[in-house]
Amino acid sequence: MKDVKVLGPGCARCKTLAEMVKQAAEQTGVAINLEKVEDMAAIVGYGIMSTPGLIINGKVVHSGSLPDPKKVATWLQEG
């Protein structure tokens, strides 16, 4: 089970990213525990400066834009 967090204060792109992660997890068959982090102090604590941010098993893999869906799948499989 992989611990995946989507960081963002509830903007449109953050929701889209959460959906992308869900789809990628279904397609790759990787079991994930998805959590949306909306608390500002927690977001900032990860050291990212632009949302949405994507954290897999405690590691920041992406921030600031919507990533390529293929990359999301790769990160899920690697991380």
Partner: protein, 351 residues
Amino acid sequence: MELENTVTPKISNQKVRWGLGISISTVAWLLAYSNLQLFADFMLATVGLSRETALGEAVHFFLYDTPKVLLLLTGIVFIMGVVQTFFAPERTRALLSGKRMGIGNVLAASLGIVTPFCSCSAVPLFIGFLSAGVPLGVTFSFLISAPMVNEVALVLLFGMFGWKVAALYLGMGLLVAIVAGLVIGQLKMERHLEDWVQAIQARADQGYESGSMNWVERAEAGLSHVKEIVAKVWPYIVAGIALGAGIHGYVPEDFMASFMGKDVWWAVPAAVVLGVPMYTNAAGIIPVVEALIGKGAALGTVLAFMMSVIALSAPEMIILRKALKPRLIATFAGVVALGILLVGYLFNAVL
């Protein structure tokens, strides 16, 4: 760009495709841009109107300006999308960290033009800067310049009012951001940050470095920037130009001059006060600006209105309230509003 031997065939293939695509697009773009007048004349003749009539003049204005502004927007937004890949917020932060006041403010305001920014990320960005040792005043210079001086505003001003107005807006926007940041820095308001922000500042910074990109990825970023921005703003632009066309054809020249002209001293403060609670992006405000200028309102007054709508907005204040105590927010809004006010008066006096 030379192809390196080490790149995989797939990447070099993409490079060729992008190179070709960009070359063809550039030629097509230049052809289209140099034939705008012909296109508008031809279309007008096709629908059987003449520029002698008010309707014909209005339709011609619309047919000429819409493709022109959309072409400019697409081109500039693509270029900016590529440029922005060189200025991720993390990079900008590294450039600004440890900079003194003064030079730091100038740099921060300039970087505000090229760093991608969305007001929903204002707080993480703000704190990311502070925690890396960027002074508060320098951080504010960035935070003021980033939303206000952006490529969409500049392209629209250039397309509709010419390069002089665009350059003035760029210069004045930077000036407001630099001076307001300097003032806020001088006021030493660090203790008016929320307590949790001060705690984070004291903590060691755990930076995130985004990986380096190749040119294909940068071009892709440019293209997705175009899709995102142009898809969002084109309805405003078409609406704005349609409105402008109507005014161009029908409304008497000096309709607005009596109450938004140069000689009305209270027009500038009224414009700023009206603009603060309003919130829209640069594209959304253009229809209004077009309408006001078209009816003879003074340029300084209109630019002050535009700046206050874009740079000071109630939603952004609410977001920033999570990190700033009320006094710092009030100071920020006050200093920026004052700066915009002065710009408005200056424009009206000079032009």
